[in-house]
Symmetry: C2
Subunit: 471 residues, 2 copies
């Protein structure tokens, strides 16, 4: 099938097949990654401007910008004001960001890992999982192994309706719950339906996870960047007929949307006839006394609530759920059926059993205590050793944001120092959807390392910051 | 989001939201199904012509034809030469076809079930599954629970490369294997890539499973019907730059593509620069002495080989695999990553363990002996009691085709008689992609009922046929 593929020499020597319209940015990411991994592009090499690459390849400039952003977030590229984009000057460029995406093996290439987006998978409740598997296979009727409802197993949907109601205040009926194969699929299905409805523009927080903007783009939607301040996203900047938001713990800034802004967001949705996608990715991990419930409860007819086991159990399970407004049930169910019929039955039954027996709640409580401790340690170490670097955002979730005055070190300088210490770390720079300049920051995933490795990783971070802020 | 939805009264009183372009046929199916299930459309009601409905709704006629075909296959509608399409005259119209698709509960609504497309899920190796789960969770490294390679776990891809080589003659390297969330997803990913490459027409065997034609259409492709005779599909009728085929056991006719036709198919692909999608859905179940290997071995650079555990273990696992040509690896990997990152890790590890320990092979041998016996019983009972109805096609797979002379009873008459005996049965009529008239036939899924219920189901079938052929 490749006979007709046009390959582009360019000075980057990238083989990019432009007959694909969808996924061009992904191809560019893959080709650049390969070129860096194989040493064809050496550390420090300055890349052509996005405008030049776009023109050479005959693609939109946004496609190239998006690819560069992605690779900056992954640590392959680095950027600095005025000096363009370069291949990261690090022996460890091959380590990928272990957020959603191919991160296999990434852990082992670094001595320390504080990249965000993952739980400590060594805490996975293996014994409870085996126990529930045995229980399910001893009792499940054969029909559960057959083709089933595209929305998923009723056992899990009933268990979730109860769990989400009591733990997150979500107004959920099992009929309106759709089990998906991870949040990536869930967002993809929503994007497909939105595109079918003729929705063009989707509001997205800025900064936010670049992969999600990519999913929207691939469905033919245009992400519109909505700035975020200390009170959350700015409602006055919302556009389009849909918005993807992280109200409890904005990703990556970590702020919580204030009550007033919540009301403004819902009121915008009513006026604009828009749907709000609430990504409650770490709603279970709030360490303060006043836990905030899901936004969805404010306007169940306007909000698609999304949750997942990727942060509570393990990303490898690929399990997420949507609670959708009544008029979305058939649309999403249909999209899910077309995508893959329904999610895997046994995994659903096992998670339903974990929920029913209380094992899921126990596991989350343990993780919560554990991650809270890690955050406190991070906060204490910063205050004691690098007071100029502040931990900002709510005490919640699996990551924290470190910010400092623009007079301090440049973000890329800190990332470079981290690489020299074999410390995997994400800069805030990879998350922006708009051109800078943006203030510097580090997104620290304190949940990522296994228990025994956290102290070492924290020491490495303090060492790196100490050096950068002293210099 | 529904404020702007146009609803169409029509005389069918269907609420169909036409702002969706994708999925219009699915919506029509759902709306008609609802209308029938709720009794708004009564048994025997004659539906407007597809042309009239298409014109009223402002959609393509093909969309309506496809919806009607789908509902005929599901048993909601029936059709007869000259008298148009009617709501099935049966008290059991709500029972859906338990092929890929929402079939939950379908089994319980019928006393006997011989619909095709499913294995006997009561044979699922529950003890072996629990054992492998324990083994995997005792030994798996934590990184396996993390985000991983979009192609799937290396353990499963290596195990499959070995298994597919020895059991099916597939030329497979783990690097070229992509694990998918069921064959529906696999075909959807292939269709997405084909559409991105600008492929318009895809050759599809006629008859074939209508759901697969639907998946192609939803990706923007146009299925082209290729007739099938006793030697398999007619290579001279192939069109476009891709073909989806079932060479080992054509679905639903059950014929095997002859060696000469295989060569002609591959030679067409070379000339047309086309890719062949080999759906080896029941390649493991060949009962004769000369088992036929996969077509893929003839032309690994032209054939995408697809296999699944849906027939060997259970559809509810949602596990399938593709072995793709080298130049397809990145395309499919990319599409999979965008769809849902990768398939669930634990399920993959468990199936890898079943393969490695030989439990998978043992299970298949048991099922094979078992299904072969059922087929022999069906064949014997037909010969003894209804000689005018012949079992045709290869001795293979989980279904058999019963055909008879057009002088015999009409297909819908037999289906009606079956319903009156509470016997779920599929007519050949629902599988055609071209307008008739087509010869009558029954697609009998002898693997569907649990072991203890097969004799009763077979008796019911013979009773029904005996009555129809005597009358």
């Amino acid at each position: 099938m490749s006979a007709g593929a046009r390959t582009h020499p360019l000075d980057l020597h990238l083989d990019v097949d432009l007959r694909y319209r969808r996924g061009r940015s992904d191809q560019l990411v893959a080709a650049l990654r390969r070129a860096i991994e194989t040493g064809r592009l050496l550390p420090g090499t300055r890349l052509p401007s996005t405008r030049a690459v776009a023109s050479d390849l005959g693609v939109a400039r946004g496609t190239v910008v998006s690819a560069y952003h992605h690779l900056i977030a992954e640590g392959y590229l680095e950027t600095a004001r005025g000096s363009g984009t370069r291949v990261a000057r690090s022996p460890n460029v091959a380590a990928r960001e272990p957020g959603p995406g191919p991160g296999a093996g990434a852990r082992s290439q670094w001595q320390y890992n504080l990249r965000p987006g993952m739980p400590d998978v060594t805490l996975f409740p293996r014994a409870a999982w085996v126990k529930s598997t045995r229980q399910v296979l001893n009792t499940v009727p054969a029909e559960a192994l057959d083709y089933g409802d595209p929305r998923g197993r009723p056992e899990l949907r009933w268990a979730l309706a109860d769990y989400l109601g009591r733990s997150r205040g979500v107004v959920a009926h099992p009929d309106r719950i759709v089990i998906c194969h991870g949040f990536t699929q869930a967002l993809g299905l929503i994007a497909t339906v939105l595109a079918e409805q003729g929705v063009g523009t989707v509001s997205v927080e800025d900064p936010s996870y670049p992969h999600f903007r990519e999913i929207l783009r691939l469905a033919g939607l245009t992400p519109h960047a909505v700035p975020v301040d200390d009170e959350g996203l700015l409602p006055a900047d919302l556009r389009g007929r849909a918005a993807v938001v992280t109200p409890i713990h904005q990703y990556p800034l970590g702020v919580t949307l204030t009550a007033q802004r919540r009301r403004a967001l819902v009121s915008w949705a009513e006026t604009a006839d828009a749907v709000i996608v609430e990504d409650d990715y770490d709603g279970e991990f709030q360490y303060g006394r006043n836990r905030v419930g899901a936004l969805q409860a404010l306007a169940p007819h306007r909000v698609i609530y999304a949750g997942t086991t990727s942060k509570t159990l393990a990303p490898g399970l690929r399990l997420a759920w949507l609670v959708v407004p009544p008029d979305w049930v058939e649309r999403i169910t249909n999209a899910k059926r077309i995508a893959d019929q329904h999610s895997a039955a046994l995994t659903q039954m096992i998670v339903a059993d974990l929920l029913a027996t209380g094992a899921y709640d126990r596991h989350i409580r343990q993780c919560r205590d554990h991650y809270r401790m890690r955050r406190d340690e991070l906060s204490g170490a910063l205050a004691a050793h690098v007071p100029a670097a502040r931990l900002v955002g709510e005490s919640a979730g699996l990551h924290a944001l470190i910010r400092w005055s623009p007079d301090g070190p440049e973000e890329r300088e800190v990332l470079r120092a981290a690489r020299s210490q074999s410390l995997a770390l994400a800069g805030l720079g990879g998350y922006w959807g708009t051109p800078g300049p943006h203030p510097p920051g580090l997104v620290v995933g304190y949940a990522t390392p296994p228990r025994h490795a956290y102290a070492g990783a924290l020491d490495a971070l303090i060492r790196v910051l100490g050096r950068c802020f002293a210099g």
